[in-house]
């Protein structure tokens, strides 16, 4: 009986499984194939001609004598992307945790409203929001102008088209992804545990570090992953707020498929990124698998 119901229930997820399986797996395999082909002279690839050039040229380039020498250009872009994503994640955490904590301490009806507010930025197109940030951040823009008006001579803010502008923009874009999972874990947190900590002599700071933070850790980790990984793949924000001067992985991949006409390298870079993301996910799940289950 139970088996029949369970096997029938499978059909509920079947459409999603087929959709995702097909439209994710097939293009992915296609890109894996492309990354292992020889590049075509005018873009595209030479189908059927295998070559590992894409992966080799990620780290090496050929000098005039056709020797392989280490070329760190791509590695630098990767490192820069990881660094910037990490910075953004830290910003988002510093802004997001207090926000989530505040919301979780509000009465139920207010909480839902505040969570609704957190999601409002999603309503606007990401391109529009990035242009808005350009208007805010540029020299003589809203922020610069306001500072000057208040008598703080900035001499031009010089923030736009820097990594900081990119990080500010990314923090803004992905902040809800930090707030929501942290809020979810804080909301679940049994308030009596905090009372127990107080009862046993922990002041507010130690109740936070010894009880609240450890119990919210899965939410914090989930939030960090949900911010960090999309940041690595961010395309629009570095393009606009970085002014194209500041390339991140996605921009590099985009240029390989576009101007550089090196499809295998573009696909290969994508797979290197995917590998790195999968590794960090595995580290995460390994780390939090060992966490004791919440007691009832």
């Amino acid at each position: 009986m139970g088996n029949i119901i369970r096997s029938k229930r499978f059909w509920l997820v079947a459409p999603a499984v087929v959709y995702i399986g097909f439209f994710m797996a097939v293009p992915l395999l296609q890109m894996a194939y492309v990354s292992m082909l020889e590049r075509g002279d005018y873009g595209g690839v030479n189908w059927g001609v295998f070559s590992m050039d894409a992966y080799i040229s990620f780290i090496f380039e050929r000098d005039l004598m056709d020797n392989l020498v280490v070329n760190t250009d791509y590695l630098q872009i990767f490192a820069r992307s990881f660094g910037l994503s990490a910075m953004t994640t830290v910003f988002a955490l510093l802004l997001g945790f207090p926000t989530a904590f505040y919301i979780s301490t509000q009465p139920q009806s207010r909480r839902n409203f505040l969570i609704f507010l957190v999601t409002i930025p999603f309503w606007t197109n990401i391109l529009v929001r990035n242009y808005a940030w350009m208007l805010l951040l540029r020299n003589g823009g809203l922020i610069d102008g306001a500072l000057n008006w208040m008598g703080i001579e900035t001499g031009g803010l010089d923030v736009l088209y820097t990594p900081y502008a990119v990080s500010i923009g990314l923090t803004y874009t992905y902040l809800p992804f930090m707030v929501l999972p942290i809020y979810a874990s804080l909301e679940k947190l049994d308030h009596r545990l905090v009372e127990a900590a107080f009862d046993l002599g922990a002041d507010k700071r130690r109740a936070m570090t010894r009880v609240i933070l450890p119990l919210a850790a899965p939410g914090i980790a989930a939030g960090c992953i949900l911010v960090f990984i999309p940041c690595l793949g961010a395309y629009v924000t570095p393009e606009l707020l970085g002014g194209g001067k500041f390339m991140m992985i996605a921009n590099l991949i985009g240029s390989q498929f576009g101007a550089a006409r090196n499809w295998p390298l573009g696909a290969g870079l994508g797979f290197v990124l995917l590998a790195l993301v999968l590794i960090s996910m595995m580290v995460y799940s390994f780390k939090f698998k060992s966490l004791p289950e919440e007691s009832r």
Partner: protein, 364 residues
């Protein structure tokens, strides 16, 4: 008598405001003594948990004050009070091992790791879970979690231990075990226990003194025997154990002796003093097991007389419902001992024996 540890002085607590205003405690005053097992007993919503939370510092009193050894606690946050709590849900830290749970309070006091660990072992011995230090709470049964919660709260050697219905989540057998265990812990540690429960049996079994609460007020404070044998209020007599209530007119024979004249004209004589200048209609209570039955033929002028209307056999005892006439019913519980003389059948006329000191005139 020993020293007062906790003293509540005219404590009031209201929640909300305007039309939503709820009075949880209304001018409550009580003293709790050193090394005492003190129980606050009452139905849900009577304010017992609120009073406990005020002592613990989780709520602030709206009026009045709470003293610990003579010093006002009012503005002291919970973490500065030498008072620990065993929560109803245990509230063990799920991310810490049993040992880390127990040493938490010690660590907060700045006690060295080694000493704290030794103390934890001592506490685990005390609650008889010596091998469980390295487990996490989710690996323990409800009863075990309960013991760990006790060990954790006792580890910092608080002046007062507050227990908020800690046994309510346990099944009956375990609860009985834990009642004995709690009493033992209290005696062994010499710490004042303030226990909150709605279970009268639990309260009678464990307490040195019981405060019976209703609607934010303490009705009566006394030793279990006193509360049971000499309830002052109808609520107390009704809430704790079974009671018969009879309504009648208080009459004074002029020589300081009182009697109750029931609606049907029967009279119950009282031996005890009746407090205050009371007259007119009063309620008296008497416990079913303090009554006895005799055949009508053996009844004398001092006995109430009635008709057996129901007989219920319970094994160890038998319960009779006696109709006194005029809608007055009495429940009589008689033990079925080996020398049980009596078997009264439904419809039989019987005389009811009662010792005058078992009859209580109630305040309302």
């Amino acid at each position: 008598m020993s020293e007062v540890v906790i003293s509540a002085k005219s404590v009031g607590k209201t929640f909300g405001s305007g039309v939503d205003k709820v009075t949880a405690l209304d001018d409550v005053s009580v003293d709790i003594f050193q090394n005492e097992f003190f129980t606050m007993l009452g139905p849900s919503g009577c304010g017992k948990t609120t009073l406990l939370r005020l002592i613990g510092g989780f709520e602030q009193a709206t009026s009045g004050q709470i003293l610990l050894e003579g010093k006002a606690l009012n503005d002291l946050p919970p973490y500065k009070r030498p008072i620990n709590t065993v929560f109803q849900s245990y509230a063990l830290f799920p991310h810490l091992t049993v040992r880390q749970n127990i040493t938490f309070g010690l660590e907060m006091q700045g006690i060295a790791r080694k000493q704290a660990d030794d103390r934890a072992e001592e506490m685990l011995e005390l609650v008889r879970l010596a091998q469980y230090g390295d487990r996490v709470p989710s690996q323990l049964s409800g009863g075990q979690q309960q013991r760990i919660a006790l060990a954790r709260a006792l580890a910092p050697a608080p002046k007062v231990l507050l227990l908020d219905e800690p046994l309510s989540a346990l099944d009956l057998k375990l609860r009985k075990e834990m009642q004995v265990e709690l009493k033992r812990l209290q005696t062994e540690t010499g710490i004042t226990f303030v226990f909150v429960t709605h279970d009268q049996e639990e309260a009678l079994a464990m307490s040195d003194r019981i405060a019976v609460m209703k609607s934010g007020e303490i009705l009566q404070v006394g030793a279990p025997r006193e509360i049971y044998e000499a309830p002052t209020h109808r609520f107390v007599a009704d809430f704790i154990g079974d009671s018969n209530f009879l309504v009648g007119n208080l009459v004074d024979d002029g020589a300081g002796k009182h009697a109750i004249k029931l609606g049907g004209g029967q009279v119950i004589e009282l031996t005890q003093e009746v407090s205050g200048q009371r007259s007119g209609e009063v309620t008296v209570s008497v416990r079913p097991e303090r009554l006895g039955l005799v055949a009508e033929s053996k009844a004398n002028a001092n006995h109430l007389v009635g008709t057996v209307s129901t007989v219920i056999y319970f094994g160890t005892d038998t319960t009779y419902q006696i109709d006194l006439g005029n809608d007055a019913l009495l429940t009589v519980r008689m033990q079925n001992g080996s020398g049980a003389k009596a078997d009264f059948a439904q419809g039989e006329r019987v005389g009811i024996t009662m010792s005058p000191d078992s009859i209580r005139v109630l305040a309302d």
